[in-house]
Symmetry: C2
Subunit: 445 residues, 2 copies
Amino acid sequence: MTTSRPRQLHLNAFLMNAGHHDAAWRHPGTQPERVTDLRYFQHLARTAERGLLDSVFLADGLALFNKVRHNALGGFEPLTLLSALAAVTERVGLIATVSTTFNEPFHVARKFASLDHLSGGRAGWNIVTSGTVAEARNFGQDEHLEHRLRYERAREFVEVATRLWDSWADDAIVLDRERGIYADTDRVRAINHRGEYFGVEGPLNVPRPPQGHPLLVQAGSSEDGKEFAAQYAEAVFTAQQTLADGQAFYKDLKSRLARYGRTEDQLLILPGIAPVLGSTEAEARALEQELTDLQVPEYGLAQLSGMLGVDLTGLPLDGPLPELPEERDINGNKSRFTLVAELARRDGLTLRELIARLGAGRGHRVFAGTPEQVADQLEEWFTQGAADGFNVMPPLLPGGLEDFVDHVVPILQRRGLFRTEYTGRTLREHYGLARPDNAAPAPAS
Amino acid sequence: MTTSRPRQLHLNAFLMNAGHHDAAWRHPGTQPERVTDLRYFQHLARTAERGLLDSVFLADGLALFNKVRHNALGGFEPLTLLSALAAVTERVGLIATVSTTFNEPFHVARKFASLDHLSGGRAGWNIVTSGTVAEARNFGQDEHLEHRLRYERAREFVEVATRLWDSWADDAIVLDRERGIYADTDRVRAINHRGEYFGVEGPLNVPRPPQGHPLLVQAGSSEDGKEFAAQYAEAVFTAQQTLADGQAFYKDLKSRLARYGRTEDQLLILPGIAPVLGSTEAEARALEQELTDLQVPEYGLAQLSGMLGVDLTGLPLDGPLPELPEERDINGNKSRFTLVAELARRDGLTLRELIARLGAGRGHRVFAGTPEQVADQLEEWFTQGAADGFNVMPPLLPGGLEDFVDHVVPILQRRGLFRTEYTGRTLREHYGLARPDNAAPAPAS
Ligand SMILES: Cc1cc2nc3c(=O)[nH]c(=O)nc-3n(C[C@H](O)[C@H](O)[C@H](O)COP(=O)(O)O)c2cc1C
Ligand SMILES: Cc1cc2nc3c(=O)[nH]c(=O)nc-3n(C[C@H](O)[C@H](O)[C@H](O)COP(=O)(O)O)c2cc1C
């Protein structure tokens, strides 16, 4: 734990095809022809590691959606890609998104245990419940499981996964060649779970992971989402547009922890930021405008239709938004719906303006400026109770990540806000989070 | 295709914890403390690659069974580990076992497509139906799906996976920055599958893999297993004890191909061999005896109970086998049951002798001798119509694989039976198998 050191911020690099801006792939600075090339991601992960970042992160969805006509897509399954990256990096954490709605806990616990062993304790799991009916339709379901039930399933899923990781005591392997005893099987136990959604006998067929459990990350900000995070998550990604919103979310979520017997430092909050960097402010703004000019309106409209649960096709781009549903009627991503609806209302945006505002960050905060100005923003949110660190979403890759590492990180370091070397080996150590004890396997009964 | 070159054999390295012998981990030449260490497997894969082998292969089971008390277990999930190995090897093929009984085709198609992209076309899938009730109990089922129905599910599973890989035309990505068109979505199609076991709308969210489809491998030798292989498999692993058995299996399986409109060279048969190598025959036999002496009888008895579907605990080791069930009553691995039962009957073995015979290969052929003698055996099976190549199962790792590569491979090369350099890049090219065309996505309708 970092108790004696001054509080420092944490940085995650959110990796995304040619970059987070939806027109990134059209920009001459990107390399969309490499999004299915391992070496491209190897370069990104090594760049993050060169910048001493805590982790890299891959999002995931289980359907193609309508996005591939006008946007680049590599489509790597996150655990597969991060396993490959584990072999060519040394320190940086590796956070994979896996849905609890369309998976089985035995497989997921096993794969994360494998990644954690492979990487020497660098695995993290972004636990998502998946938001679209298109995903359900790839798994034999016509309708998407209701939002509340998805989180209910997620809770049981995480409970089972946790018990599976704990089904081996840390010291179960005795490796006594002389007596022919490899593992003390009194210290490897079935879990005999029978619940609402899952029946899992256990034990897991992999020894306990180096980190005990992989780091548990969560990224839903609805009521159910926050409650789930308060109970299980150790890091939270969230989209927050303003300092005030960020502070309110931060306070809200941290205040829920005590209910689960947890302290505020056991959960880190990392709002997203899409930094559009330039060596002058004018240069940064020009880049932002250049990207806006490259947007394909049909694409933006389709994305927006998905977020808002309303078909916007054919509406005039320079007109206002139509009447929107209420959050309670949204069965997808509730918090993102509300954020986008608020943003449009607050700033009185036309469809075209809203599409431009969402282009770089899909609802995450976008900030265009110099490295100094970006560092100021991060410092402000970090010191004013809105963030424990940031989910960095470069609009263009690899350039935006290289610029962040080469120009923003050194400023944060000079200000004493960010590490100047890795002091730990595991992802938990980077985030200053304890390795969970294994309460489960008692001595022989 | 290798039509103009003389026929050469294919070699796969079957990687297994501290080695294939069940007492390998007790032998001073092995490194059981490294079975959860990526660098250990990296060394094994690179050794196979140094030997110009076609592929490395990982088996898999979805339950711990009772084996961890007396045998070393790393437990890496195969796709995770092979993805990591993809990043640190260049040429060798990577074959992962994944069960069709406890998975969803969308996930599996996606992960293999990812591995195939990551590795530049080196992915192979060993399609298994899983044989034990312990596995079912980790997936909410009290009983194991019936053998015949498992294969029925496997057929539908492979059909769906194949259609998902084909849901993108090879040339779907147009990457037209100017016009803002990334993919020609007329060349990316839903599959709209609704079958007995699965409902999958598609398309896949990953572009078509470099190999078109990963190499399809199969390893069941029952009637249903052979029929499945004849329809779908491109390489088959099989356990055969004698040349005559190997020839009969080879002829049987190849003769089934025509029924599915396939030619004999579209499926390669690779019997397993566990070579116990020594610089003299006496040395090899001494090593074999040394390993037998290290066996833990309780472990052998438990393994044998599993294979035979009879609880043998407590029976006298120096007595005969009890009455056995019929193959039709076995719901696990039918072909292995029959092989072991035959072996015991034919040679009139006691339990102890049978455990010794199965120690190195679990029913696969074991051969102790010099590199020259091992090469003679391989040549004989290869030229006498019993094999297109071999699944090499070193009793001890890493030493047994190093010895095979350093001492057996050069002999095979001198005899013109094995490649002296990689001529292809992909796993299919190594095996001389064509890249499947994509019949599916027609031009815009
Ligand atoms: C930074 C960030 C990344 C996310 N990544 C994914 C993702 O990869 N896959 C996914 O299905 N949902 C993702 N989400 C969505 C949430 O995990 C969550 O499922 C969604 O917000 C619905 O939850 P809510 O209704 O509680 O907000 C992400 C959200 C954020 C803020
Ligand atoms: C070399 C070899 C490797 C195998 N690997 C696996 C494996 O990793 N996982 C598994 O469940 N079955 C494995 N099997 C078993 C078969 O794939 C098959 O499921 C089993 O033999 C039952 O089929 P059968 O009754 O048709 O023989 C393997 C068999 C062989 C010969």
